[in-house]
Amino acid sequence: MTIRLPAFDYLTPETLEDAAQLLADPERSVVVVGGGTDVVPKMKRRQITPEVLVSLSRIESLHGIRIDESGACTIGASTTLAEIHDSTVVPEVFAAAAGDVASPQIRNSATVGGNLCLDTRCNYIDMSDSWRQASGYCLKDGGDTCWVAPRSNKCWAISSSDLATVAVALGGSVRLTSVRGERLIPIEALYNNDGMSYLTCAADEILVELVLPRGNGRATYRKLRRRGSIDFPLLGVAISARFDDAGMCVFARIVLGGIASAPLRAIEAEEFIVGRQLTDEVLEEAARLATQPARPQDNTDTGSRYRKWMVSVFVERALGDVAGDRA
């Protein structure tokens, strides 16, 4: 039986100004749609039922990738993951991570704006409507209990965007637009560690573009998933780091994805490796420190203890990637 989409108005503004106006409508519930690969399944399952979908696809200025004089790479929100993966000017680690998202068909539709704003995911909500009705709608679904942590008053749904994790590690920024104007914020400030209000921006703000500074260090992304194709990350580890001529680490960002409701910085581990050579002992201790902020729950594939263990394994491997030809 075909699952039909619920009724909605589909609007296709051709300018950003028109799109911002449509989102400012206080009378109707409006959701922005890029490629639709996140929004459409959620609407089919009645997780969200907006009255209006505003498509960004006809706004020319949101398509494409450019490099400015400083070497920063700006990626328009409507650029597809396939275009990013195939690009030769996007930072290599970001292009590779885009190729690790979902399947070839989804990467041809899905956009970078959509991936960065990907709704948080959980075993108790990414289910059919009949399943959710039978089990009782959870907190994120309009109910009053989080089925992952019933005594908790917060939602634990997981940030599952590969590109968010990498963009935070690279120190990226996002430009947001609304009828009130435009602002550029560090992408780290876009996310909130709460499964329900996981984005800090206002509901009528549109993510216009991602800006990645020119990297002068090394970066890597490692993704844990059951199948090498299709799956969302059960854990993503992105690291960017710089070293001096003697091989001493002078800057590090270690970011964990798929483990909380926002990309998480492993700050203690970052501080520990700065000022040190990445010897095997240092890698091991940094990996141990990186597990401290991780509180995975049993709300995705595999168990929470396994995923916490994997944080140390993946951080150690990822640090090995950036340490490269260390002595």
Partner: protein, 158 residues
């Protein structure tokens, strides 16, 4: 919720279809145009059975809002054969028995056609990557991979 006239080119034929905003491309193809070669599988973007080419790129038609592709050209499995002659991929699939129940086959063929158009001589690993978004629940992948490489070799005149 208003009706719109959708203009799409499907397998080289131009169509104008009256659609509501919530119509998906899969529904238009199967229910309005009667092109039931494109299969309806999971409905939520996990299986690849509904894969079609939109402007030469494979996408999942169950996730495409029809109005999103207004003015585009679409190719379905019905458009693979030419002048009554099957595509080399279709011949290779039939010859090697690369279909068991056959439900994933149209999606596999479309993804494979796109792969070979981009890369005429793929390794087995590249075939696997190209078909990563197409699930076969009969687990007949080996013959499918072999058939794609056989068709590729014949396409190159080997």
């Amino acid at each position: 919720m208003a009706d719109h006239i959708l203009a799409i080119d499907v397998n080289g034929d131009r169509h104008r279809v009256l659609v509501t905003d919530q119509r998906t491309l899969l529904e238009v193809l199967r229910e309005d145009l009667g092109l039931t070669g494109t299969k309806h599988g999971c409905d939520v973007g996990e299986c690849g059975a509904c894969t079609v080419l939109v402007d030469d790129k494979p996408v999942l038609s169950c996730l495409v809002i029809a109005r999103q592709v207004d003015g585009s050209s679409v190719q379905t499995v019905e458009g693979l054969a030419h002048d009554g002659k099957p595509d080399l991929l279709q011949e290779a699939f039939a010859e090697l028995g690369a279909a068991q129940c056959g439900y994933c086959t149209p999606g596999m063929l479309i993804s494979a056609r796109s792969l070979l158009d981009d890369n005429p001589d793929p390794t087995t690993e590249e075939v696997q990557a190209g078909l990563a978004g197409n699930l076969c629940r009969c687990t007949g992948y080996i013959k499918i991979f072999d058939a794609v490489r056989l068709a590729a070799a014949r396409d190159r005149g080997l």
